[in-house]
């Protein structure tokens, strides 16, 4: 795979967006640059033949993270924005110089490491690819995520649950930023008619995940982003209207995964060693529940910290 003009342009764009995200004076502008960075990196993942990651990046890296950053920037600016911007200017010159030297040294070390070791060292690719064929899951990434390295994914789901619990615990009298603007009928119409399409696409991604790019994480991220948009318009407030059901959904992914992991133990096999005949079915079932749970988590991470239950729609005009 040789370097094409597109690769050079993409790389230049990535670096430029990253630099602007860090140095732009206006915080809003720098977050927009970061979101652009996420979209460009989705293209880079495609160039590197990683469509699964591209899907996740577009929904999570650019979408959900961007929404979280914009929300936090808005909340922090409303408090005493000038103080924060002043603090930005007060970095001592020595810290600037030292930080720049250290980052330069880090780059030199990393570049040396990359140039001196072959990128194509032998790895697990062959084993994973033949293994995936045996399981009957044509998308090897899904097979690695939910079967061969299922333990990693199990812990990842636990991390997600912990994170959303942390965010919910930290929620306090923070200013309202959700549904605080007058609902625009056009936006409501657009969001309302997009919602079924998002739901359909999310369901498709779970189903397709076994054979082609997609899976629980991409699907959950997409669905979660859809719920965030609905929540921003005040059309769906899962955490407020159905707190019990939302919490159950948050935990459902981990519970289902743990159950699937323990079932083989009860049958005398190792943890996560699914019965050979049931492998694909178990993976699909776990993926379906995970997708719902991840969607609730993505939405919860955003909505839980943004919504103050009592104040509702009151807020800035």
């Amino acid at each position: 795979m040789n370097v094409a003009v597109l690769d050079v342009m993409l790389c230049a764009g990535l670096v430029w967006c990253a630099v602007s995200a860090l140095v732009k004076r206006d915080l809003f502008a720098s977050i927009v640059m970061f979101i652009s960075f996420g979209l460009l990196s989705a293209l880079a993942w495609i160039r590197l033949a990683a469509p699964d990651i591209a899907l996740a990046e577009a929904a999570i890296g650019a979408g959900a993270t961007g929404a979280l950053l914009l929300d936090a920037a808005g909340v922090l600016a409303r408090g005493d924005g000038s103080a924060a911007e002043d603090a930005e200017r007060r970095t001592p010159r020595s810290a600037n110089v030292l930080g720049t030297i250290a980052a330069g040294a880090l780059f030199a070390a990393l570049a040396w490491a990359l140039l001196s070791t072959p990128l194509d060292a032998p790895r697990l690719a062959a084993a994973a690819l033949t293994g995936a064929r045996e399981v009957g899951i044509a998308n090897p990434v899904t097979a690695v995520l939910l079967d061969f390295r299922g333990y990693d994914t199990l812990l990842e789901v636990a991390v997600l649950l912990l994170a959303v619990m942390g965010v919910m615990a930290l929620r306090s009298g923070a200013p309202v930023s959700v549904a605080s603007h007058a609902a625009d009928p056009l936006v409501r119409l657009l969001v309302g008619s997009l919602a079924p399409a998002v739901l359909l696409a999310a369901a498709y991604l779970v189903w397709a995940g076994t054979s082609s790019p997609g899976g629980a994480f991409q699907s959950g991220a997409l669905l979660g982003a859809g719920v965030i948009v609905l929540g921003l318009e005040g059309m769906l407030q899962p955490m407020r209207v159905h707190p019990g059901a939302s919490r159950l959904l948050l935990a459902a992914g981990l519970l289902a995964f743990v159950a699937a992991a323990l079932e083989p133990v009860a049958a005398g096999r190792a943890l996560l060693q699914y019965a050979p005949y049931a492998r694909k079915g178990v993976i699909l079932a776990v993926e379906g529940i995970l997708a719902l749970s991840i969607a609730t988590t993505v939405a919860g991470l955003f909505l839980a910290s943004s919504v103050t239950p009592d104040r509702g729609k009151a807020g800035r005009p």
Binding site: M1, V3, D7, L14, V15, A18, A21, L22, S30, F34, F37, S41, A44, L48, A49, A50, D52, I53, I60, A64, T65, L68, L69, A72, V75, L76, E85, A87, E88, A95, T100, A103, F107, L114, L119, D120, A121, R123, A125, A126, A128, V141, A143, V144, L145, R149, T153, V159, L160, A163, V164, G166, V167, L170, R171, S172, A174, F217, L301, F302
Partner: protein, 102 residues
């Protein structure tokens, strides 16, 4: 130079840029952006290595790792920002939460 190597070097650049931003920039949101950029750099290096394998398809193991990483990064970002917001709220509402800002 092969394309994966180019992307890997850009990844190294992003890790360093992110580290620079994490040290030098002070606004909590911008620090979070910097940490995210560091993560993206690491992902880029991993996926470039996956692309460079001689196998018929890219190595799926780093892909799975990066997918996990992207989701965990989003979760940690959310917690970091929630902490920043809580801290701002605590330093604003002097007596409200009884918390003080150090």
């Amino acid at each position: 130079m092969s394309a994966p190597l180019l992307y890997a070097l850009v990844g190294a650049g992003l890790v360093s840029l992110g580290a620079w931003g994490l040290v030098v920039r002070t606004h909590p949101v911008r620090k979070t952006v910097a940490a995210n950029l560091m993560g993206s750099g690491a992902f880029l290096i991993l996926v470039s290595a996956a692309r460079a394998t001689p196998a018929e398809r890219p190595d799926p193991v780093p892909h799975a790792l990066v997918l996990t990483g992207i989701v965990v990064t989003m979760a940690t970002t959310a917690v970091a920002l929630a902490l920043a917001k809580r801290r701002a709220a605590a330093s604003e509402g002097h007596s409200g939460e009884g918390a003080s800002d150090g």
